[in-house]
């Protein structure tokens, strides 16, 4: 469902899309069935002259079956959802693969500052490249990012990567992503951060190795 609206652009995006599709499928099946049942009952038992309603307490086993069996099945579906959700969550937020490069993201009212490692691939050296509101990364490389905030809460959200993480002042929050598609995409701030929340936009430019090298050369 989501893929048709926003293409998956990172290694974990297909996992998240799978969870969404799984939930979607189960929900459409059970929700559709319930709604169909609901309308069928409404039509079947509409008021008719001379027909009296049944007296049913809800304790009859042969009727309760109709509630209980679907309900047990729904519990099974819930367990499946929990399993896949937790697995995906673990992959995105808890586990960190070996990283190729680092970036540092600083949020403030109302702009993003990005610090790239520069040609030497190490953070905190003289050749670091700082950019405002544009993040340059290379396709097919695993990045570890560090999020910092100077003032209030922000949220670093890259819809194409299915990535979202709140930025909290006083903390250095780590995370990772691995872009798979080249192009220029939105970075949004997803947490209310004051008057300029709506203009706190940035772009992430995912480049091929050649483009990235050219950018590095030009930025230096």
């Amino acid at each position: 469902m989501i893929e048709s609206l926003v293409q998956p652009g990172s290694t974990f995006a297909p996992d998240i899309d799978f969870v969404i599709n799984l939930v979607g499928g189960l929900v459409f099946f059970w929700g559709g069935l319930t709604v169909a049942m609901f309308f069928w009952l409404l039509w079947r038992y509409r008021y008719r002259e001379g027909v009296k309603a049944l007296y049913v307490t809800g304790n009859e086993p042969e009727l309760k079956r109709w509630i209980n069996i679907p309900h047990y099945l729904i519990i099974l579906c819930d367990l499946a959802i929990i399993g896949f959700a937790v697995q995906t969550w673990y992959k995105v937020k808890q586990d960190i693969p070996p990283v190729d490069d680092e970036i540092r993201v600083v949020g403030q009212q109302w702009a993003w500052t990005f610090q790239h490692t520069g040609p030497d691939g190490k953070m905190g050296t003289d050749d670091d490249i700082k950019t405002a509101d544009v993040l340059h990364v290379e396709v097919d490389k695993t990045y570890q990012f560090t999020l910092e905030s100077r003032d209030v809460l922000h949220s670093f959200s890259v819809p194409i990567f299915r990535l979202k993480q709140d930025v909290i002042p006083g903390r250095e929050i780590q995370g990772w992503f691995h872009p798979t598609v080249a192009g220029a995409f939105d970075i949004q701030c997803a947490e209310m951060c004051g008057i300029g929340h709506g203009i706190m936009a940035a772009r992430i430019i995912v480049e091929t190795p050649e483009q990235h090298a050219a950018w590095l050369a030009g930025a230096k």
Binding site: M1, F38, F84, D166
Partner: protein, 571 residues
């Protein structure tokens, strides 16, 4: 039976009663629960108009960025944030809670349990006065210099804690004060509801004879009281941060801003069920009456409500999956959150099962009740996307969330209220509402509401985030297609708001001009329908207080000529 009255009327009639009350005593400072309930309801309606107007203003800005909104003018970013914030807080704290719990709780609990009034009438009056004060404080917060508070209804520090960040130093404090006052009002009200339902029931009314509405309002009140403490604590701390300059949530002084989120959502999530349960209670009354059916599994519904209430204390951190909590905590909260769908789904199944074998009459209250079930099902199932932590990484703070919780809150706060208002209107005012206008209003509400929020599901799934002033800065999500969806949603909202005038006209016109209502126009069993319409002071004749012989949902009992069997009829 006069002894029964003696016991029920513990607070005595000497406090209020023997003389004919003056206008001021009756309508402005009433002790009678019915008038306090109506005060709550009318105040809630006024606040709903504000909330609707706010929604209209910022939706217009979103659909047509930069235009001068008719009736508001050009929406600046500051105003946009204030509108979004106050729309949320007004609709939840000043519309859903006062109308669903306070108004109908006040009006219905004593009538449904066959009592003459609340056990603490003076506390009840105080509750409304504190609530009114909170409304006034909130209103002042909109017009102080700097404008209304614009830090979202969740009011996360440091944005809300510091005037330099939020740029609304006065508005945010007044907003917070208003919220705290509002909680105090419902605290007092909730104590009253629970004590009344526990101690003032008519003779013979056992646990299984209590109408579902009373149960639900009581469970909701208990949940409210058990969850509101930490938020009041947090609000006091935040207020100190704002006004005294303390550092409870200030990271520069070694505190943690995320702490507020825990205190807030510890209340914030049970709050959802606090407003949900009363609405499900109303629906239970209405579907049984209009399907002429006994409620399917009374006890099971009760247990699911209690189970939901208990579980709801274990799910709050699902609002914070990406907000800086330990990722392991997110796993636990995923499990509890997905599990809470089980009792709620069971409850909805039982409501649908109640329709089986019925003789369903599609009058206005029934249409609303069925609309509630249908819309709430959509709202409920879309919550699973958000409760599953893996999927929530993507959906968090997008319009998908907005659409999801409006699909729950709209059925709760508005459809539930319309169901209850149309159903109990004859009892409240002694007159019938117009059926044709009621149906026009129903279809004019239920169709646009889907056209508001289904587009928002799609824009959210496409990556549009909440609370964004306009999307021009985000090239990926400012495509013409998404903008079209936003326009559809906004136009539907305008249509929806226009149709509410039908309801307002019907409500106030019928209040004075509607045909006189009999005592029991719907042929219902519960005790409030056995009192005259409208009930006099003291509700029931003092020498003939009701006595309960059976449960509230004995419809279509085989062997009886009538298809209903009032609770107080010996046989």
């Amino acid at each position: 039976m006069s002894e029964a009255h003696q016991i029920d009327g513990h607070h005595g009639h000497d406090a209020h009663g023997h003389h004919e009350p003056t206008f001021l005593e009756k309508y402005i400072f009433p002790l009678d629960h019915k008038y306090i309930g109506m005060q709550y309801m009318l105040t809630g309606m006024v606040m709903a108009l504000f909330g609707g107007f706010f929604a209209y203003s910022f939706r217009m800005q979103l659909a047509f960025p930069g235009i001068s909104v008719p009736g508001f003018g050009i929406v600046s970013p500051t105003e946009y944030n204030a509108l979004v914030t106050n729309h949320g807080s007004v609709m939840i704290f000043w519309v859903a809670m006062p109308v669903l719990i306070a108004a109908f709780g006040n009006f219905l609990i004593p009538l449904m349990i066959g009592a003459d009034d609340m056990v603490f009438p003076k506390l009840n009056r105080l509750s409304y006065q504190v609530f009114l004060l909170s409304c006034i404080v909130l209103g002042i917060s909109w017009i102080v210099p700097g404008g209304g508070f614009g830090g979202a209804w969740t009011s996360y520090p440091p944005l809300s804690a510091n005037g330099d960040y939020s740029m609304t130093p006065l508005g945010s404090s007044l907003w917070l004060t208003a919220v705290a006052l509002e909680f105090a009002a419902f605290l007092i009200g909730g104590i009253n509801f629970i004590t009344t339902a526990m101690n003032s029931r008519a003779p013979g009314m056992k646990a299984k004879d209590v109408p579902m509405t009373v149960w639900m309002i009581c469970i909701a009140s208990i949940m409210f009281m058990a969850s509101v403490g930490p938020l009041i604590a947090g609000a006091i701390m935040l207020l100190f941060d704002q006004q005294l300059g303390t550092g409870f949530f200030d990271w520069k002084r070694g505190s943690d801003p995320v702490l507020w989120q825990h205190l807030f959502w510890f209340f914030g999530h049970p709050e959802v069920y606090v407003v949900l349960l009363p609405a499900t209670g109303f629906v239970a009354e209405i579907i049984t009456v209009f399907a002429r059916k006994k409620l399917f599994g009374y006890q099971t519904i009760l247990y699911t409500a209690i189970g939901t209430g208990a579980l709801s204390f274990f799910v709050w951190a699902h609002h914070q999956f990406v907000a800086g909590i330990d990722p392991r905590m997110a796993n636990i909260f995923t499990i509890t959150t997905v599990l809470i769908s089980i009792p709620i789904a069971e409850m909805m199944f039982l409501y649908i099962a109640t329709l089986y074998g019925g003789s369903i009459r599609f009058q206005t209250p029934m249409l609303w009740a069925l609309g509630f079930i249908f819309e709430f099902l959509i709202g409920g199932v879309t919550g699973i996307f958000l409760g599953a932590s893996g999927a929530d990484i993507y959906f968090h703070d997008t319009y998908f969330v907005v659409a999801h919780f409006h699909y729950t809150f709209f059925p709760i706060a508005f459809i539930g209220t319309f169901a209850a208002a149309t159903y109990w209107f004859p009892k409240m005012f002694g007159r019938m509402m117009n059926e044709t206008l009621g149906r026009i209003h129903f279809w004019g509400t239920i169709i646009p509401v889907n056209f508001i929020f289904i587009p928002l599901f799609i824009t959210g799934a496409a990556g549009q985030h909440r609370r964004i002033y306009n999307y021009n800065h985000f090239p990926d999500v400012s495509t013409p297609d998404l903008q079209t969806l936003n326009i559809v949603a906004t136009v539907s909202l305008v249509i929806l708001l226009c149709f509410q005038t039908v309801f307002l006209f019907n409500f106030f016109w019928s209040m004075w001009r509607g045909p006189k209502a009999p005592a029991n126009p719907w042929k219902a069993n519960t005790l409030e329908w056995q009192a005259p319409s409208p009930p006099p002071h003291g509700n029931f004749p003092p020498d003939n207080m009701p006595v309960v012989y059976r449960g509230p949902y004995e419809y279509s009992v085989p062997g009886r000529e009538d298809d209903y069997w009032p609770q107080n009829q010996p046989n």
